[in-house]
């Protein structure tokens, strides 16, 4: 706005004097555009910003019968209760651990897969592989979770039949505290690794082919070409996706956990989103779980803003 007014101040007074009618003219000429934004603004205020204001119930003892205004204030009481409970540390630990495992084991997979795909010469073969690898991304967690549970079933599942063929005792993958997170991460890779290659492949196709030529003339092996040309070429894509991933550290998607978890593994599988759902909506502890939700959103906000800043300081293009 200020940059807009700067040049006009330099111009003759006539323009300044005609400012108000100019605005009216601008408005009437563009009234269709402004009219379109009215419902959008109402939507944002009602369904996006009003719930943010609704977070104040984290500082109250909310009861449906009293309403938001009628409920009594408790200050930080809900947070004190939260931080004093063992449940809080369990769900926080599980949330962070599952995200950490994801970052270490799942995040690099699409990068590796994209590098392999990028080396495929035959265009039709590459295209076919890509299209097949993308499929799980479009299937819901409920269906995928159900398939995972069936495949890993100790009695009839395919994986355990295979183990049996090698003389290994059946493993209760979904009921074991070690194997459940493993199954969780692997199923996440199954769903998203293929689709995750799209952005990397796009970045790779933008790499100047003469760089590869030059590397080849210098006698660089394929491995060195990947290291010195391909990887630097997708560096900013990796950076951006890394920010987004770290920004999600406090959040494990509800649907994946909810479909894969069961009572035997609650101690490793209960995460913030499922805890808020069961305690908040099933057990009606509204204020208590809102306090947890608010804690989660604030940490997530701090995380993404600071990671964005770090990435920018490193000379990469940030998110905003």
């Amino acid at each position: 706005m200020t940059t807009n007014t700067m040049p006009t101040t330099k111009q003759p007074v006539g323009k300044l004097a005609g400012r108000a009618p100019g605005f009216r003219k601008h408005f009437s000429r563009n009234r269709f555009l402004y009219a379109m934004l009215v419902p959008v603004a109402i939507y944002l205020i009602l369904f996006k910003y009003a719930p943010m204001a609704g977070e104040i119930i984290a500082f109250k003892n909310y009861r449906l019968s009293d309403g938001i205004w009628g409920s009594s204030w408790v200050g930080f009481g809900q947070f004190e209760k939260l931080f004093a409970s063992r449940d809080f540390y369990v769900v926080l630990r599980n949330t962070l651990l599952l995200n950490l495992y994801h970052l270490v084991f799942a995040f690099p997979v699409p990068i590796i897969l994209a590098i392999l795909l990028n080396e495929v010469r035959a265009e039709w073969y590459k295209r076919t592989l890509q299209n097949l690898l993308y499929i799980p991304h479009f299937i819901s967690w409920v269906a995928l979770g159900s398939i995972v549970i069936a495949l890993l079933s100790p009695s009839t599942g395919f994986v355990n039949s295979l183990l049996k063929a090698f003389g290994i005792e059946p493993i209760y993958f979904m009921a074991d505290k070690f194997w459940w997170p493993v199954s969780f991460i692997v199923s996440g890779i199954w769903k998203e690794a293929g689709f995750g290659t799209i952005l990397y492949l796009a970045a790779m196709s933008a790499i100047d082919p003469t760089l590869y030529e030059a590397a080849k003339i210098d006698g660089a092996s394929k491995r060195r070409q990947i290291w010195h040309v391909t990887l630097p070429g997708i560096r900013s894509t990796i950076a951006i996706l890394l920010i987004l991933q770290v920004g999600k550290m406090m959040d494990v998607g509800f649907e994946q956990v909810y479909t894969l978890r069961n009572d035997a593994v609650t101690s490793v599988a209960e995460v913030i989103s499922t805890f808020v759902y069961t305690r908040g909506l099933v057990n009606l502890q509204y204020s208590y779980t809102t306090a947890l939700g608010l804690f989660q959103s604030l940490i997530a906000l701090i995380l993404i803003v600071s990671v964005n800043r770090i990435i920018k300081a490193m000379g990469e293009r940030g998110l905003w």
Binding site: N30, M52, E55, I135, I147, S161, Y172, S273, G293, S297
Partner: protein, 303 residues
């Protein structure tokens, strides 16, 4: 002399390298084929399971092909009818939800793609902020509840009218259209509405196709919001119905006891239900995949 030696060694070394290179390429192709196989195998297995006899399933014989082929699981599902009702509900949720999404996404993205609009920066900030911070599950629920929308599909549609991310994708696309188009049309006397519907939207077909698909897949797979807001059994979506079926049998599976008494095990029925839920997507996918990919790339342009 040194260069001479290098030249002499050249051909044989490069031949060795290219032979090693072609072996590496062959291994790479094979490895990727195995990845694709591993990705698809679970789907093939679930389809095979849905068509196999309970004896074969319990004996762990089903691999990629139905064993003792029969359609009993599907007959049962269709006779039961609940899944059909759920599927009809999901179609309704998807069609109306996607239409509303597109309408509102265009209504937000088109004006906001015009640099001349006053207050545009503020509005864009307000939308960006919703991507970074949100009101959370409980306040959202209380809002929807106080509006009296619980157990109606409006509780699903209204809070999700615009995906901020998709709105930014659309806006970036519209900003890429040449401005002269609009100028020349307005000189010809076309109103804003005509310009939007006759000129801008037809040119935006790629982004409209991509976003429609993203929204539609989202609605088809919608689960958590239905779980939260919909109470009546006859209004349930396909995915919630499917989850209830898994939940009923998963405890048995965990204990490792196949249900052997029943003629048709819950497992084959569940497999059939999964096939029911994923088949529509698998069927349309080959025809629409290029739009999906285009959509992702459109989004990455302005990140």
């Amino acid at each position: 002399m040194v260069t001479m030696a290098k030249h002499k060694g050249g051909p044989s070394a490069s031949a060795r390298r290219s032979r090693r290179g072609s072996l590496a390429r062959w291994l790479n192709n094979l490895l990727l084929a195995l990845c694709a196989y591993a990705t698809l195998f679970p789907f093939v297995n679930v389809i095979a399971t849905s068509l196999s006899s309970s004896r074969a399933i319990n004996a762990g014989e089903v691999f990629m092909w139905p064993v003792e082929l029969n359609f009993d699981a599907y007959h049962n599902l269709i006779r039961d009818g609940q899944l059909i009702v759920a599927m009809q509900n999901t179609v309704l949720i998807t069609v109306v939800g996607t239409a509303l999404n597109m309408l509102f996404t265009i209504m937000a993205a088109y004006p906001l793609s015009k640099a001349r609009l006053k207050g545009r920066g503020l509005m864009l900030m307000a939308i960006l902020f919703t991507m970074l911070f949100s009101g959370g599950l409980i306040p959202n629920f209380l809002l929807v509840n106080s509006l009296g929308l619980v157990n109606t599909y409006w509780a699903l549609w209204l809070p999700a009218l615009i995906s901020a991310y998709n709105m930014f994708v659309m806006k970036a696309f519209l900003e890429g259209l040449p401005e002269e188009l609009e100028e020349s049309a307005s000189i010809d006397g076309a109103g804003e509405f005509t310009i939007l519907t006759r000129i801008i939207l037809p040119l935006s077909k790629p982004v409209i196709a991509a976003l429609t698909l993203f929204y539609a897949v989202g609605w088809w797979n919608s689960y958590m919001n239905v779980l939260i807001y919909i109470r009546s059994t006859n209004k349930m979506s396909l995915m919630v119905k499917l989850y209830q079926m898994i939940d009923l049998v998963s405890s048995e599976l965990l204990r490792g006891e196949g249900v052997t008494q029943a003629v048709i095990t819950p497992e084959s029925i569940r497999a059939a239900a999964v096939v029911f839920a994923i088949l529509p997507i698998l069927c349309v996918y080959p025809f629409l995949q290029k739009h999906f990919i285009k959509g992702v790339l459109l989004g990455s342009v302005k990140g």
